[in-house]
């Protein structure tokens, strides 16, 4: 107990002197950045990297205010945000750290094997209501979505729904774990999760972006060779002026060692 106290006091005393690198933003990237920071600090004992979440938008606005050195984002920087940064005299640099594929999941008892993008759009906007309309059993479709604050929610809307809105009153769950739980116990359910979260309790379906000619199942392999269509980059943004400060961490993430962390966490490596 006493030791803890001493260590705490020491840490508090050190706080103003340590030039820590701060990373802030996407919750999706939180486990990745934390792991990278941990192993980076092991290699460079003098460095301190602190990682906080809050959401992609939060990270980028922190970059604008200068309260973070690196913003982690699970979506591309928006035009508005770029303009605001430019207006503040900052040029922003973008680094792709990893890729993440979104898998569309259904209940394991569901016989459906593949869906086209148009069918998915119909399902999530509420126009297709029964599995028999897309070649399945006579069963009501129950789409589950993430909460509106999630970057995954936004990305799915952009990529699969082509910016159309989700149907009014879609079931929305607070976390990926809750989505898996619900889909695994609801016969007519359909939802989307990051590839890393796939497990035996749910079934991933193949997706076709060419009107039903080829259906591609999500996997590390299909994501890497570019055949799986619902893939997003996981990005780090930093201000060009502070490049010296963050370069060594970014380089570490892109190095072989850093990329090993990427696949350990369950994301897709760059190469």
């Amino acid at each position: 107990m006493k030791n803890v106290f001493v260590v705490l006091m020491l840490l508090l005393n050190m706080l103003p002197y340590v030039k820590a690198q701060k990373i802030k933003g996407s919750d999706t990237m939180l486990p990745l950045s934390q792991k990278e920071a941990e192993s980076y600090m092991k290699v460079n004992p003098s460095a301190t990297v602190t990682v906080t979440g809050g959401g992609s938008g939060v990270g980028i606005s922190a970059l604008l205010e200068g309260t973070t050195d690196i913003a982690q984002s699970s979506r591309k920087i928006k035009f508005d945000e770029k303009r605001k940064l430019q207006a503040g005299g900052k040029t922003v640099k973008e680094v792709v750290a990893a890729y993440d594929a979104l898998a569309v999941i259904v209940n394991p008892d569901n016989k459906i094997a593949g869906l086209t993008r148009e069918q998915l759009e119909g399902i999530f906007t509420g126009k297709i209501k029964n599995w028999k309309e897309v070649g399945g059993d006579d069963l009501q479709i129950i789409p589950y979505s993430r909460e509106t604050s999630s970057g995954t929610y936004e990305f799915f809307k952009e990529s699969v729904l082509k910016n159309k809105n989700y149907k009014n009153g879609i079931m929305s769950m607070p976390a990926t774990g809750a989505i898996i739980q619900s889909v695994s116990q609801t016969a007519g359910a359909i939802s989307y999760v990051g590839l890393a979260y796939l497990n035996g309790n749910v079934k991933a379906v193949g997706i076709s972006y060419d009107g039903g000619k080829t259906f591609v199942e999500p996997s590390v392999k299909t994501t890497k060779d570019g055949t799986y269509p619902v893939v997003r980059p996981l990005l780090y943004y930093y201000v060009a002026a502070s490049e010296n400060k963050v370069k060594s961490f970014i380089d570490y993430v892109l190095s072989e060692e850093g990329q090993k962390n990427v696949s350990d966490i369950g994301f897709i490596t760059l190469k």
């Binding site: 809050g54 606005s61 009501q140 509106t148 159309k164 769950m173 607070p174 809750a178 739980q181 359910a189």
Partner: protein, 403 residues
């Protein structure tokens, strides 16, 4: 000397307590003021996303579009201007980002200096267009472009709206009716479910159980109150939700019923503890008088003790309702959070606290969405205030007429 110090100490303590009391009241007042100030700011926010405007072709006779119709247009549900009071012709919704697929970065000029000119050209070419553009790049010099006027969000849209879609662009929908109805439905049924067993246990513990059983039961019930609500939520999602789906043969298990059941369990300790205390406070003289008159034990319980404890029991119910209405995490996990007006217990609902918890994280501070969440907080505050004030009145009336 010692006496003097003692007196000074007493004075200091008195002052300190008075200070604490006034500080607490001031704090509560400040919180309420802050809540309402932020919340009411919603009605000073524009209907479409801040910093953006909607443009149409100058030849288009449409004067104004409601937020609902703007949303339907961009969702592709309304496709003809005739439906909106315009001329016959297809609507072409155009989002700002699409400009980058029409022109390359070079064509837009250095530092996007030609952007607004190009946007103007796009609008000029398409008579049926409705373009959603940032105010910064409005092609205001172009004669064939007309900018639609934007009004502030109307209270009737908020309190009378039936769609809650706060992140939709260009026109977010802040209809609060489904959320209020969802909250009330879940909480009221939770109390209806919790009340009979709660009162039963309270009667058992105060009147029937012997001391040994009571000593065992009481801490067990208090333990129930100590379980974190997220644990209740996960238990509900993993156990109660699939059970409801199987037993009632529903397509989904995440329903208002699941929320009510979980909330009922969570409200039980409050109801039991307070109701039991009220019953045990019945004066011994009253019980003995009743027994002496020849009433049986049961007759005493429900002719003497329960009427005497009525105000305490109603306080228990109110505090239970208060717990149910404000509960966030457990409900967030089991009710499915679909923002639709509930027609039965077997549908998914979205409650006010769950909405605030799920959405406040990403709502940009000071923005329209953020303010709308504060206004939801105000509604919640007014509901709980009404509940406790009416309970106060009820229990007072009982006392005045009863004894």
């Amino acid at each position: 000397m010692r006496k003097l110090f003692g007196r000074i100490g007493e004075r200091a303590a008195e002052g300190l307590f008075a200070l604490c009391g006034s500080m607490t009241s001031i704090m509560i007042l400040l919180i309420v003021v802050f809540l309402f100030r932020e919340g009411l700011g919603l009605f000073r926010s524009p209907e479409i996303e801040n910093g953006y405007a909607l443009c149409i072709h100058a030849s288009n006779p449409v004067e104004r579009l409601s937020p609902q119709s703007v949303k339907s247009v961009f969702d592709g549900e309304i496709t003809d201007w005739q439906e909106l009071g315009g001329k016959n012709g297809e609507i072409m919704p155009f989002r700002f980002d699409e400009i980058f697929s029409l022109y390359s970065e070079e064509e837009l000029g250095a530092d996007y200096s030609l952007l607004s000119v190009k946007l103007g050209e796009v609008i000029e070419r398409n008579r049926g267009i409705i373009a959603f553009l940032p105010e910064q790049y409005l092609p205001s010099n172009n004669m064939s472009v007309r900018i639609l006027p934007v009004e502030n969000i109307a209270p009737s849209d908020f309190f009378g709206g039936t769609e809650w879609m706060p992140t939709v662009t260009p026109a977010p929908q802040f209809g609060v009716i489904p959320l209020v109805l969802g909250t009330l439905l879940v909480s009221i049924f939770a109390i209806l479910i919790a009340l009979p067993p709660g009162l039963g246990v309270a009667i058992y513990m105060s009147e029937l159980a012997d001391e040994r059983v009571r000593k065992l039961l009481k801490p067990a019930i208090e333990l129930l109150a100590g379980i974190p609500s997220v644990v209740y939520g996960f238990f509900g999602l993993a156990v109660i939700v699939p059970l409801i789906r199987k037993i009632l043969h529903l397509p989904v298990g995440e329903t208002a019923l699941a929320g009510s059941l979980i909330l009922a369990v969570m409200a039980l300790p409050t109801i039991i503890t307070i109701a039991e205390d009220a019953m045990r406070n019945t004066p011994k003289a009253m019980r003995e008088a009743s027994l002496a008159l020849g009433a049986t034990h049961w007759q005493t319980i429900y002719r003497v003790i329960i009427p005497y404890a009525a105000s305490g029991i109603s306080a228990a119910v109110v505090l239970g309702i208060g717990r149910a209405i404000g509960e966030t995490m457990a409900v967030l996990m089991v009710t499915g959070n679909a923002a639709v007006i509930p027609h039965s217990l077997f549908e998914s609902v979205r409650t006010i606290p769950a909405t605030i918890a799920a959405e406040l994280g990403e709502a940009p501070s000071g923005g329209t969405h953020y303010r709308s969440l504060f206004l939801l907080g105000c509604i919640l505050f007014v509901i709980t205030l009404t509940v406790s004030v009416s309970a106060e009145i009820i229990s007072k009336k009982r006392h005045d007429s009863g004894q």
